[in-house]
């Protein structure tokens, strides 16, 4: 029985043994643990069931901490995002997921707080003094069940029109551990994979399918019930683990859960990502300036 996770770091952890073609670097910045994992070849990609590329995992202290004031954290995240971004040109930020399903609302909540600047030209530029900012467009794609349009189709049609240099796609993820929800951030240059996320988009959103680099940013907000149950009994006792896998109620596979505090978790994660992305896109603006432009 497989344990579902959208975090490359957890996929490696679950695989257990060393894998050729996977490199791992760890760093601690204040109270954030940063892991840079690279999947370098097809075999490794196949073993971990993750696209080839770079996955940066940032583990924060749990929810209790307040993000808004933590300029250092924003800057640490912004720095990682900036490294994956092209130096200039239009960036399109896409919030994926269903705004009406709280654990899936990370993308749209985040998109609501991204500063759009692509339209600031001519008179608007003069009036606002924002004419010099990097051009940014923002879309919330909604979900196929509500729009009748696949997320990939949706993005592709806007991309053809506005021709961004890169896309930042923000989505809620699934983790194998309850304790990671809301306080782990994954940033990757591999886009978003099918089956990933809370809403289970069926289309791959990658440079291959969309024609431009896609930076995927996500925070796990859900766990599959059976994955969580196995995690709670975590053990080195091979035989017991085997017994567990045998006995788990198969219905647990389809049930997906989120912590009771999901509203808080989503609000904070959306704000952390939105502010970090804004900082990465407009390094000249202070956090204070950004806050007053967004709210």
């Amino acid at each position: 029985m497989e344990r579902r996770t959208d975090l490359a770091l957890e996929a490696k952890e679950l695989f257990g043994e060393e894998i050729k073609g996977v490199s791992l670097e760890e760093e601690n910045k204040e109270d954030i643990k940063i892991t840079r994992l690279k999947i370098k070849n097809k075999q490794a990609s196949h073993k971990l069931n993750k696209e080839m590329g770079t996955y940066i995992t940032m583990e924060f202290p749990p929810l209790t901490d307040y993000f808004r004031e933590a300029d250092d954290k924003l800057k640490a995240v912004a720095e990682e995002i900036k490294r994956l971004l092209p130096v200039n040109g239009l960036v399109m930020v896409a919030g994926l997921g269903n705004p009406e399903i709280t654990p899936d609302a990370l993308g749209p909540k985040c998109a609501d707080k991204i500063l759009a600047t692509r339209h600031i030209k001519g008179d608007v530029a003069k009036a606002t003094g924002l004419g010099h900012l990097r051009p940014v467009a923002v879309v919330s794609t909604g979900v196929t069940g509500k729009t009748g349009i696949e997320t990939g189709e949706y993005l592709l049609s806007i991309i053809k029109k506005i021709k961004p240099n890169a896309i930042i796609a923000v989505d809620a993820l699934a983790s194998r551990r309850l304790s990671r929800l809301g306080c782990t951030l994954q940033i990757s240059n591999t886009g978003i994979s099918p089956g990933a996320g809370v809403g289970n988009n069926r289309t791959k959103l990658t440079a291959d399918t969309l024609g431009v680099p896609v930076i995927g940013i996500g925070v796990p907000t859900v766990v599959e019930a059976s994955t969580m149950a196995l995690d709670l009994f975590d053990t080195d006792d091979e035989e017991f683990s085997h017994q567990l896998r045998e006995r788990v109620n198969p219905k647990g596979r389809q049930m997906v859960v989120t912590p009771k505090e999901v509203d808080l978790l989503i609000n904070r994660a959306a704000e952390l990502i939105a502010l970090s992305v804004n900082c990465a896109l407009h390094p000249d603006l202070s956090v204070g300036d950004l806050l007053s432009l967004i709210y």
Copy 2:
């Protein structure tokens, strides 16, 4: 001094005298007053500052009435919409406006309750039994200030991809009379005009610019302050009217107001339009079926 209105009926009313090339038909259905106004030539279009085409105005009793139960009303509205729709093929419903500004949220609130069916194929069609329904796609365009993308550009890019036979664009409108807000519905085959609506889109959304027929549906939710003030002192005394126009504080032109009860007004109008559009698109489904599919 001009009085701003997005209702063709009010534009005619304000013009006063007869206009060649404008026809008007009135009908009463239960407690709804229906007016069908046609602007037939360019001169008339220029005089009224409205596109050539058909404008159906439905005047309902004020807010006090409860829409949901009123199946007759839904059906009366659905019938008018159906007459303007192509007989078959994909229809795209577009909710225009800013969901965070209550009086401008009519479009997105309405879009949230439109049944999307374009994606219901294969397994989904079998599982849901909805495979036979007319294909419908739904988008909420947001506003340029939040997306960096003009509404026209946004719609055009999706249209190129999914190729609908017609578009239904839902938007909040401005009226000249406070008493009309929330209880007058305008349906037209002329799309949405620049400067119309609460958010003042700059692009024309018509068959000309979008390449497909555009049915515009709107409910007035705001009045310009000075327009409202002149309306409150309405008089046949030419001299007094002239005095009023002279003395009005020019700042009033830029101030736009909405009734205190705007939340109620928007919720009810969005539900009336959404249910009517759903009925017009899927005439085989009962209101009860539609409600259980949407909620």
Copy 3:
């Protein structure tokens, strides 16, 4: 290791053996399974850790079903509530829980849709024609962390002032089974017990502490992580069960989870309870009348 549940039916189930002083009656009404459990003496109350009294459990088909149209279900629930209510006099409906925490928002969301009538006197009674309705007051107590006031203190102070004949307290509950969330309803004449509910009020809300009969109505919306894990491996193998209890990660006790679809679940349960309570309090009004009075 104990498994936490607020449902008396589950407490009995978990206890296993027969208990003297507990009676159980089952009935099927259409697709609802109704169980009437009575705890008749102190020993039984102690064994099950539930107050003496009557607990009616109504098990509905899962979420997929749409409540609003289901007048039969509303009436079945209303009938159970009516049996526990005094025949006449003021009833106070109290929504418990935190409106900002989705899985805890059942009480306040429900209270928002209860028809308040206590103030309808004199002119208002004439104008609305509602003067003949049973007097009802509605409060949302909020949570101690946000008000600084214990729920018991809060209710007691209002009770002293308005002197209701009975209280209906609505709260979100914890279950031992994920599959019960959102589709099981418990109605009891024993009020709300300390430690029950999602927010874990510390005060007992019973006839003893509040001085008036308290009808508790709840729907489970959360499961403790470890309780859920044990449930997923459910087994008759005593030894394996024992092993499980030994090995469970103690942190799982403090983690509480809710299904990904919690928003949908809460909205539907709140509407079902609100409409049922309204029906029980005003048996002369039809569901259609109630809907038009509430929205």
Copy 4:
């Protein structure tokens, strides 16, 4: 014809001539204009139709400004509030108004962001380190139409139980000028008067009726339509003014309007008041500390 206003400053302005028993002091602090108006005797109170007492009006630059960052503004407001508060003892903050009607939601939105501390004792005090803070309780009374309980009754019953030293009542107000909405703050030691506010409470909330000092804090969010119309044509020409009053459509008296941007206006005003009240109650905490405790 009377023009309705809840601002004492505007009442005086409208009265025109000097009134014995009314004193007025003006001060400018940065870009805030502060006016301290005292109504000292019954005759003056009767003429202005306002309770005897002190009314502090703070006029801010319009909406365009961002409140959160403006620590100076918060402190200026906090200082005025602090002067009217008793030096120590429990303070109860009451948010008045209907959270579902945006222009009336100032009170409840503000209450949501007040730090409640009354319950922080024993273990909680140790765990949070907040045991030394001034005790504060927070209630949102809702509106009579939704609760069946008059606001005065509601407050009185809680007051009897928790015995505060003072009450701070926050409510949305009506102004005579559209330009004042959202950017004028009135703080008074006279409580809230009948007929004031957006929701038109019928009970007086004053030291007389509640038995404790009541500090009223409000921001105008609505204007009566006819009052606004007269304001737009404002003139010294006595005859024209008289004509206007004669001709105004009497229906305008019952219609109450709010600016299109009401959501923004309410959010910002609620945050300004909440942060200022928190600062006034806990002068030892920094704005940063307060933000991290509230969110």
